[in-house]
């Protein structure tokens, strides 16, 4: 089947819109992944710091006694 110029032009514009949509979706997935990784790393660091403080606190109070 031979497409008319109008059909070809419409198809081209739709394809371009789909491509842009897919690229935007990939960017959003990437940004989401990076932000969630950063949040998890910060949460892990906070947890480590809290555990460290818990571990050293009794020792420090024992020394004072």
């Amino acid at each position: 089947m031979r497409l008319t110029d109008e059909q070809m032009a419409a198809r081209k514009r739709r394809n371009l819109a789909i491509a842009l949509g897919l690229v935007a979706f990939m960017v959003l997935i990437f940004v989401t992944t990076v932000l969630n990784l950063r949040r998890n790393i910060e949460a892990a660091a906070d947890q480590r710091a809290a555990e460290q403080a818990e571990f050293t606190a009794p020792v420090a109070s024992g020394v004072q006694r």
Partner: protein, 326 residues
């Protein structure tokens, strides 16, 4: 009148696919979702919050696309909707269905990944409720269609709240209740001056099924319940002085317009645009139907005002400028 047959090779433009998302409805969804998200507080990353709002908007748009795909034939019978892409034959029904389904899937998945699965679950529920329950089951079966179906339109602030905090406490459901109770007076005011359209399409909207007089009374009764609920956030710590002033002043105007509509004869005769067979326009109605048009227009303004007041008060910047207002 059946939907005009779409060409075998589509000539649909990207703009037609954008129209499938119901951009005007989407803008209200974005606004209420942002308000829910900001009102919730929480420590969500601003970029993740923006992605969450985008997902909610696209999800709501996808529900709109599914609705247009499923209602193409009905839309073609009504002046207000016959220019829609599927109804006008510019986009094929199957294409619109696929488009809506893909966007639904992508928006729910991304929202779950970006923030949490409570918000994603609520978004999925909204889409299924609107496209499935409301469009396929309710709309043609009962004059209470928009009352029950209004829940879908009322969910975005709850989704926004859940996106920020991972939960949906009663404050979020209070925002839901405001939109839920706002929907009947808003929709029935519109239906009063476009009842002929609904009758032609076989949709049992309240003025078609119960008559204009009963609809005007129900609008008034719903308004009596809606306005106090709209003011409630000011007394439960959700809204401050700005919200109180906006909700009371706007609420009184809303009640005055609803009362005027109740005492009017709006909807008793076919509207002017319908009588002369032209395209419907918001300000092109019979003199008797003007109270309905006025309430319809003001209801949009009032809802925007309520959520704008809440948004302004809850933004971190305004808490610095005027702590006593919030």
């Amino acid at each position: 009148m059946p939907t005009p047959a779409a060409p075998v090779v589509s000539t649909a433009q990207p703009e037609d696919y954008f129209q499938l998302l119901k951009p005007r409805v989407m803008s209200l969804v974005i606004f209420t979702a942002v308000t829910g998200l900001v009102a919730a507080g929480g420590d969500i990353d601003p970029l993740l919050a923006a992605i969450a709002v985008l997902c909610i908007a696209v999800g709501a748009g996808a529900a709109g696309a599914l609705n247009m795909a499923l209602e193409g034939e009905t839309d073609a019978l009504m002046r207000r909707t016959r220019g829609r892409p599927v109804a006008a034959g510019r986009v094929r029904r199957d294409d619109a269905l696929t488009y809506g389904a893909v966007l639904s899937l992508f928006s729910v998945m991304l929202l779950g990944m970006a923030v949490n699965w409570v918000a994603a679950g609520l978004l999925a529920l909204t889409i299924a409720y609107y496209a499935g329950f409301y469009t396929l089951l309710l709309k043609r079966r009962t004059p209470q269609n928009i009352v029950i179906g209004g829940a879908a339109g009322a969910l975005p602030p709850v989704i926004g709240w859940a996106a920020a905090t991972g939960s949906a406490p009663w404050q979020a459901w209070l925002l839901f209740l405001i939109i839920f109770l706002w929907t009947p007076p808003h929709s029935w005011a519109l239906a009063l001056y476009s009842a002929g359209d609904y009758a032609r399409a076989g949709i049992p909207m309240m003025p078609v099924a119960r008559g204009a007089k009963s609809t005007r009374l129900q609008i008034w009764l719903y308004s009596l319940v809606f306005v106090p609920v709209a003011i409630l956030p000011a007394f439960v710590g959700l809204g401050g002085l700005i919200y109180l002033a906006a909700s009371v002043a706007g609420g009184l105007a809303f009640l005055a317009l609803a009362f005027r509509l109740w005492r009017s004869r709006a909807g008793d005769a076919p509207d002017k645009a319908e009588a002369v067979g032209r395209e419907a326009a918001l300000y092109d109605v019979r003199a008797e139907a003007k109270p309905a048009r006025d309430l319809f227009a003001f209801s949009i303004l009032y809802l925007m005002l309520l959520f704008a007041a809440l948004l302004i008060e809850r933004l971190p910047a305004s808490q610095v400028v005027c702590p006593s207002c919030v």
